[in-house]
Structure formats: structure tokens, C-alpha cells
Amino acid sequence: MNNDRFAKQRIADDLDEPVEEAGNLARKLGLKPYPVNYWIVDYDEMNELIAYGGFQQRYPHWRWGMQYDRQQKQGQFLGGKAFEIVNNDDPAHAFLQESNTLADQKAVITHVEAHADFFANNEWFRMFTDGSSRTTTDASGEDRRRGPDAAGMLARHGDTIQEYMQDPDIKRAEVERFIDHVLCLEDNIDQHVPYSPVETVPEEFEDIEGADVTDQLDDLDLSEEVKRQVFDDEWLDAQRDDDENVTFPAEPEKDVLGFLRKHGMQYDEDAERATEMEDWQKELLELLRREAYYFAPQKMTKVMNEGWASYWESLMMTGEQFAGDDEFILYSDHMSKVLGSGGLNPYSLGLEIWEYVENTENRREVIERLLRVEGITWRNFDESVDYETVQEHLLPPEWLTDVPSHLDDLDPEDPRVDSDGLAAARDGEFDVEQYPWKVLTYEGLAHRHYSLVKPQYRGFVSRIGQEELERTARYMFDDSRYDSVEEALADVDYTRGWERMREIRESHNDVTFLDEFLTQEFVDDNDYFTYEYTHASGDYRVTSTDHEDVKKKLMLQFTNFGKPTVVVEDGNYQNRNELLLAHQYNGVMLDIGQAKEVLKRTFELWGRPVNLLTIVKEFDDHDVEVAKRRDREPEPEEVGKRIRYDGDEVTVTDVDWSEVEHLTATDIDYNTKPDEWLA
């Protein structure tokens, strides 16, 4: 035990410097990460952390055990791969695996710093607050908004649930079952709105039936301002609406968990009717709902976030030689494994899109400068611009690429030079061979790592299409600012690519990110294709390599966690207090088997019969036969269905098309089968 601790301590000591310098470098590169606490853990502990979603203390549940089991079995095949875990927490907590090489540890640390930046600055992560809006002062003395205290929150949830399980008045099995029910719906939240808790104490006004709210307000003796601001007419109308309107919610509610928390009941077996939920049930439901909201942003930004971390990791490790010479080979090996694993890998997908973003923005900057040269227009651009010369001009000066040899020549006044760093380097306070970046500013680093001059992107500027040139030129007025190409290029802002990347990491999620930046070029370069199940052959077949098709298939996997959208349509269905859920059909049908199971669980949270409206595709047996014989695909018929579970049995009934028509999205078609395949 002690040996183990000493071993970890030794590793931790070795990592002190890389950790500190990675943080410094990240900040210099324009990142604003949460402070990160690093922990050294062994292989088993790492597996455990992965199983528990990256946190040490969670509520008791068999699912963690299942994930651990899987993780271990996977580990047997993959060997002790260099795992990385970092939590969206402020400060963030990151875990380093004891058995990793120093090169791996450094890679993980740089990767983690970038994730911590993403957590702190992506607005989808800001949608979650744990209630306390805190500010804090960070290392540089700046006040910043404090992020979540996630580890604390999850541990508290764990304690609460643990207490209920130990409560002699509550059966442990019942608590476990209840958690299962809620978890079936954990993705059925409205992840696009900020989290706000459904209060456990019922709202006073809701309780008093029939009382006129206006009278009550008068009783409260509020000032006119308060009344006008808080209890405005709209609010008052809404209160009245509630009383009169027998169907609620007024608008379809995507936050199914929240709705169940507000209006759900439990089914009392003995009394054979719905009764109020127990307090523990209400609290638990809210707790799990809060966790769902907390984890939602991570699910929504997987590609972006992993790509972002890989981008900065690569820049720091390779570009800034964060890996020592001897570690570099190991690092490259590690990197190629991470990026090279099969299928659609979020790391490589994200990294490539980020690089694409960087390049296009940098190219736009160059093009805009050049279009402002007297005499150059989008029409004559190709003839009047010599790309070789442009490339030459964009190259960083030698002192930027090789800082240590030019230490004596550097000008402390140059905006690209960090004058304090330079002075320190000249005084020998640090090894400039190891940390050349300390002598440079953000601007200096941006030029030093300028993407368009990297060997692999040399031709990127010249590949610009007419169309893009025209588009860029269209809104430019100040188009003869420069007399020569040289003059124009001297003004190029080398930080623009990074600025744009930071803007995007602030406001986008995977859906918008892919939608905006996944280009034909990208799809073609990476040999992506779509596939569908074909009835003729009874297996999956490639259906398209067209980038539009690939994109829409991909979007399907990222929109709404890759899950179908199911909303609460009516909490008083057919005036019988039944719950009506509706599947907003986008052309891809539900897994009906699972949907039935989910309904059974939902019943336990509603206490009364539950219904689901959906649309399924049905194939006529005869059509299928005929299609098979002709090697064609049968045409399905879309049929409206209502699935109902009354606590006893599941029934499925056909419904008239008019009942489900409003659920169909007319403008999307995820089917990529070529038309000529159809029968």
C-alpha cells in the first residue's frame, strides 16, 4: 500500500513541471481553462473512474458495475491504453494512469488543458448551473464566472440516494427500481434550455384551487412595480389558462423528465390507483434530472471537444516540442493509435474539422487582403496572384521558428516578443531550448504556428474556388487599399484562424459544427459513405458516397444525442388524465420493442395509463417478395400508431393519419437509398 503511494508520489513529482508549463502554454495560446487538479491513479482505479462517468462518488447503481465489467473486458483486448479522463468541474479534475510513459502523460496533460478550456468557455456548458452563481478570481487576477462544483454535487446526490436506500421505511429494491425508471428517460430532457430545478415544495398558487390569483395578489400587498414586473398580465393570463385549459402542456414539452417531476404520480398496487409520489421519489427524480442536464453538454459536443483537445495537444506536443526528442516517437505512435482507430472516430473527425476551420479562416484573411490590392479582383485573381510568392511572404521569420539561436537579436518592442519572457531568458531563468514559447507572445505564437505554411497545407490557398472568391469579394468596399501584394500581406493578421476557432468553440455544438463545416472536400478526402439496410439482400449495403447524404446521416447521429425526439403532447389525454407522448417523426422509425419497454417504465412515473403516438413503416409481404425477386427495394407504407400501456398490457392501435400528420417533418429525408433502387 505504501509502496504504491510512493510510486504515485514519484510520478506526481515528475509531472509537476509539465503540468505547470502546459497550463502556462495553454494560456499563452489564448486558452482560458479552468484550473486543473491532476491525480495519479492505477489501472483499476482508472477503469473504475471511467465506469462511474469520471467521478469518484456516485449514487449506488448496478449500471456502474456493468460499465466497469465492460471496461475491464475491453481492457483485456486493448491492453493498458493511455486513458484520459477530465471532468467538467471547476476546478477540473484530471486523472493520469500510473503505467503511462512520461510522453503519454504529457500528451494527456496538454489534451486535458484544452478540454478544461472547452468546458469553461463553451456556452452549452454554461447552460448548466448548480444554482449558485459564483465568481472567482483566477491565476491571472481576473474575475471570472465560476463553473459547476460537479464532484461535490454528484457526491451529495450519492449521499442522498444512499440515505434513502438505508432508510428502514423505504425498500432498497424500490429505490433501485425507481432509479431504473428515471434513467430510461435520461435523454428526454430539453438540452437546449438552461437547467432549472422543479422545486420540491409545491407552488402555493397551484395548490389553492379555484382561488382567484388576482385576489391573492392583492392580499400580498405588493407594490405596483413588483406586480407589473413579476406578475404581469401575461403571467396572470397563463394562470387563468391553466384553470380553464384541460389539455396541458400548451406547447409540446421536450423535457419529459421535468414534466413527470411536476405532474407525475405513482401507481399504488394495493389501492389500484395513482397516488401522489413519495417525497423521496420526487427528490430522486429531480436529482437524476439535474445529472442528465449536467452531462448533456458533454454528449452534445463530443466531436468538437475531442477535436479541440486533439488540436491543441498536437500543437503543444509537436509544435512546441512538449514531448522531449526521445519521447516524440512514442507520442506519435500514441497519437496515430488514437486517431487511427476505426469507424467514425470523434477525435479524428473533430481534429480535421478544426484544422479545416483554421485553414479556411486564415485563407479568408489572406484573400481579403489580396482582394484589397489595387487591380486585383475575384475575376483576375488567379492570373494576378502568384501563390508561390504569397506562400513565401507568409512564412514566419527565422527568429520565430528558431528562437534559441536568435535570442540576442530579438527586439523586446516587437509585439510578437514577450519582453518579460525575453529578459528572463537572457538572464538564464529557464532553458530557452526547452521553452522557447516563453519568449513569445500570443501573436508571436500564432505566426510561429501559422497553418497555411505547414507542408501539408501549402496548396490550400491556391485551391480556393471562384465561387468563394466571389462571395468574399462581394461585400468588400475598401478594395484598393494596398498598392502591392507585399504591402497587403504585411498586414495579414496571423491570429485570425485561432480567433475564429475560439469563437466557434464558444457557441457551437456538434450539430451546428458539423452542419456548418463538414464539407464535400472533407467527406471525399476521408472516403465516407452511407449505408442502409436493404430488404432485397437482407443485409446492409453502401447507398451513397455523396457528401450531402453522408452529412445528413451523420447529423441524424448527432441531433438530439442521436436519439429520436419524443415530447409530452398531453397530460390529460382524452380527458382521462392519461399521458400522451409523441414521437416527432423524421423519417426514421422508433425501435418499437424498446419503446414499449420505456412506456412500461414511464407508467411507473405517471401512475396512470401512458400513450405514445408514432409512425412506423410497414411493408406488404407481397411487395417484399416481389421486390426481392427483382432485386429492388420495396416501398414502405407509413402508418400512424398509438402504443398504450395501462399498467397491465401493451396495446398497439392504428390511428388515422390526421392524428399523426403534425408529427412528421416534411423537410428532412434521412434515407439515402438511390431512387432507382426503389421498386
Partner: protein, 438 residues
């Protein structure tokens, strides 16, 4: 709370949802399991969710030169997948793609429980002689192994046997008119272990004025209380224990024979032309669980696979259930080969032996009566079994099973089972495994 707890709960939950063992043996996918780990499918262990129908969803893949219409095999892992490790059949209801893994020991245990079996494997081959507890004793040995407790007890016993109340005997010498001879006589009668020589010495030492203290022996006995040895020792302690060399014992360790419970299972299968797909499957379904069961029961299990038509040859497990040949059938060929292999590699003194044969009961004429049955009698084994797999009732010439059954009606180590559909498999396994019990 904590990992251990959650793992345990997962196992419980998994167990609840695991396919019933009997159902698994009859209809389950046995191919997912290996010899050392039995994989029982778990029905939807993870929680259900609103998800897209996998078939209807399609997906995105990556690969050079993909063209419309190319098959893609199984769907590739997609970035939206939570785990990326779901390898289930696409489009199957509810993601039945989890497996509960049990090792053969657990399998055997559960089968025992479900079928009420209780097969006690016998230890056979002596694999080790090792020192057990120091419970055996010898007369010589190193002093550290001297059993002192024993020596002391012996000495004490000896002391008790030799000791007597000296004062009491001395009083007897003080009886008027009594000399050493009379006293010795008297002491003998009263079982006082005193020697004549001691009495003589004591008489000589007796002052002459004390030689007539008592008028008679009765008077002495009435006035002097005899003190029992045990009482005196209790009162005065033992001043000396007479240790004797002959009482010394030295401990030495017992030699324990460790016998390994090892088993060889010979699986014989008819691979002739009449053994079509269905029959083959039934053999596999019966033999495989038997193999697992015995693997789980014994410390060390080895398997011999023999395929035969008119001739027999040994094969690897991988090919065993798949082979099909065209030839006729001569079951005895397999038993001849089995006898040879068992004789050479698995001597009866060291191995438990199970010989399982399966086929459709067709055999060349007289082979059963004249050759197979004598061979079965000659091959010593814990159990011989014949499994007839005949999905469509009986063929006219298929009488091997019946003949065997008739011949061994009274034998307690021969089982015959009939399997005509998967439903019969569990019963067949029970019949076979319970035969050895008796």
C-alpha cells in the same frame, strides 16, 4: 456503496435477466461460448430507451472505393453511440447482445441445482505425496519433534502406578507382632504397590520402641487415614516424574496422497451420410453442455473427439461437429479407436473415463451385437452413453440404441438417451449424468 456493491448488484440484475439455463441448452447460441467460458445470453441487461430502429437508421462508414450496392457487413460503430461496443444483430428487438459469462464450474453448479444432479467426481491419479500434519509418531527423532506432552503424561501415569502412601505402610509395621513378611502380604491384598525390599528397609529403620504402637491391624486402620496418591500429589505436588526413554515419542508428518480428479471424455460421432444437419445439431447441443459440465466438475478434463463412418479417426473439436462424410456406418470402428487411445494415454487407474457416442442408431448388420457391445464391456469407464439423434422418429434399421439398452439393462454405467428435438436435450443430459450416480 462503492464498486464492489455495484458489481454485485449488476451480477444480480444480470442473473435475473439471464436466459434460463435449460432454455439456453435447448435453444441458445452455444457457439458464443468457449471451452473455458460459457456465455449465456442476457436479455436486455441495459435499460431500454427511445431509440431509432437500427435497420431503419442506417449509418455512415469509412473505406476507400466504396460503391453503391456493396455489402458492408455489420454496422460500424458510430460516434453517436454511447459505448461503441454494441455488436448485436441489427434490427433485433431490444438489443439482446449482452452475455453473462460463467466458467464451467459455475455452469456445473447451476446444472446440478436445476436438474438436481449430484455427481461426485472421484480422485484417481496420485499426483503428489506431501507432508500433512505432524500426527504420526515414532520412537526416535530430532529432539525438536519430541512429543513432550505425551512423555510427561506417561511419566505421570508411571508415577501414579508406582506411588503409595509410605507413612501408611510404615504404620502397619508398627502393629504388634507384624514383621515385613506379614506387612508385604497385607499390602498386596490392598493393592499397595510397595516392594518387599522397601518394607525390609523401613522395618530396619523403625526404632524398636515403635514396633508395637498398634495392638492390631484393625486398630491401625481405624486410626490412620490412608492418603490416596492423587490427593497427596494435589497437596504436596509432584517432586519427581520418572521420565523413561521408553516413553519418548517423536512426531513426524503424515504422508498425504493428493489425488487429482481428472477426466477424459471421449466424444464419438457418426458422421456418415445419413447424419444430416438437424441430427448434427442435436448431437452438438447434447455433447457441448456435457463437456462443459464435466470440465466444471473435474480438476483436469481432457477431450478426445472421434468421428466415424465405416472407419474412425480422431479430430479436433473445431471440426468435430461440422464433419460430414459419405461412407457407411460401423460404430465399432470408433470404439476400437477409443479403446486404443484410452489404453495408451489415459490408463483407467489414473483417469475417470466417459465415453459418449452419438448417431442416428444406424449401424452395419451385427456390428452392434458382435463387436460394439463386447467393446463397451471391455473398456472400463465411469460411464458409457449412447445418444440417438433421430429428429423424425425411427428409421427401420436404426436399432443400435435399443440393442445397447437391452444388453446393458442391468449395468449401472451405461446410459442410452433419445433426442428427437431440442426439447429432449435437457432430459437426455439428465439421464446420462444421473446414471453414474447410482
Amino acid at each position: 456503496m462503492g464498486l464492489k456493491d455495484d458489481l454485485e448488484r449488476y451480477r444480480d440484475v444480470g442473473e435475473e435477466r439471464r436466459q434460463d439455463l435449460a432454455e439456453f441448452i435447448q435453444y441458445g447460441d452455444l457457439g458464443q461460448s468457449r471451452g473455458d467460458s460459457v456465455r449465456i445470453p442476457i436479455k436486455i441487461v441495459d435499460l431500454p430507451e427511445f431509440e431509432y430502429d437500427q435497420r431503419d437508421q442506417g449509418g455512415v462508414g469509412q473505406g476507400e472505393g466504396a460503391e453503391e450496392g456493396d455489402p458492408v457487413g455489420q454496422p460500424q460503430p458510430q460516434p453517436g453511440d454511447d459505448d461503441g461496443d454494441e455488436d448485436g444483430e441489427p434490427g433485433e428487438e431490444g438489443g439482446e447482445h449482452e452475455y453473462y459469462e460463467m466458467d464451467p464450474e459455475e455452469f456445473a453448479e447451476e446444472l446440478d441445482e436445476q436438474l438436481g444432479l449430484d455427481l461426485e467426481p472421484k480422485g484417481k491419479k496420485v499426483i503428489e505425496e506431501k507432508e500433512g500434519d505432524f500426527t504420526d509418531i515414532t520412537r526416535t527423532g530430532p529432539s525438536s519433534t519430541l512429543d513432550f506432552e505425551r512423555l510427561f503424561k506417561k511419566g505421570l501415569k508411571r508415577k501414579l502406578a508406582m506411588d503409595f502412601d509410605e507413612d501408611y505402610v510404615r504404620e502397619a509395621l508398627k502393629v504388634e507382632g507384624w514383621g515385613p513378611a506379614t506387612v508385604y502380604e497385607w499390602a498386596r491384598e490392598r493393592n499397595i504397590p510397595v516392594s518387599k525390599a522397601w518394607i525390609d528397609d523401613a522395618y530396619d529403620d523403625l526404632p524398636s520402641d515403635e514396633k508395637a504402637v498398634w495392638d492390631s491391624i484393625e486398630e491401625m486402620e481405624d486410626n490412620v487415614e490412608k492418603v490416596e496418591t492423587s490427593q497427596r500429589i494435589r497437596r504436596e505436588g509432584v517432586d519427581q516424574i520418572p521420565f523413561r526413554r521408553e516413553d519418548e515419542r517423536y512426531r513426524y508428518p503424515e504422508i498425504v496422497e493428493e489425488r487429482e480428479k481428472n477426466v477424459v471424455v471421449v466424444n464419438i460421432r457418426d458422421v456418415s451420410g445419413s447424419m444430416r444437419q438437424k441430427k448434427r445439431e442435436l448431437v452438438e447441443r447434447t455433447f457441448t453442455p456435457l463437456d462443459w459440465y464435466l470440465t466444471g466438475k473435474y480438476d483436469n478434463a481432457e477431450f478426445v473427439y472421434i468421428a466415424h463412418d465405416a472407419d474412425a479417426w480422431e479430430v479436433e473439436r473445431d471440426e468435430f461437429f461440422g464433419i460430414r462424410s459419405g461412407g457407411g456406418t460401423r460404430i465399432s470402428s470408433a470404439y476400437e479407436l477409443a479403446a486404443e487411445i484410452l489404453e495408451e494415454e489415459y490408463p483407467w487407474s489414473e483417469w475417470n473415463r466417459y465415453v459418449f457416442a452419438a448417431g442416428d442408431s444406424e449401424n452395419s448388420s451385427n456390428d452392434t451385437e458382435e463387436k460394439v457391445i463386447p467393446l463397451m464391456k471391455q473398456i472400463p469407464a465411469n460411464l458409457h452413453a449412447y445418444v440417438e439423434t433421430q429428429p423424425s422418429g425411427n428409421a427401420i434399421n436404426a436399432t443400435h440404441a435399443e440393442e445397447v439398452e437391452r444388453n446393458f439393462r442391468d449395468a449401472d454405467n451405461v446410459a442410452v438417451a433419445y433426442v428427437s428435438s431440442p426439447e429432449d436435450v435437457v432430459d437426455a443430459i439428465y439421464d446420462i449424468l444421473s446414471t453414474e450416480d447410482q
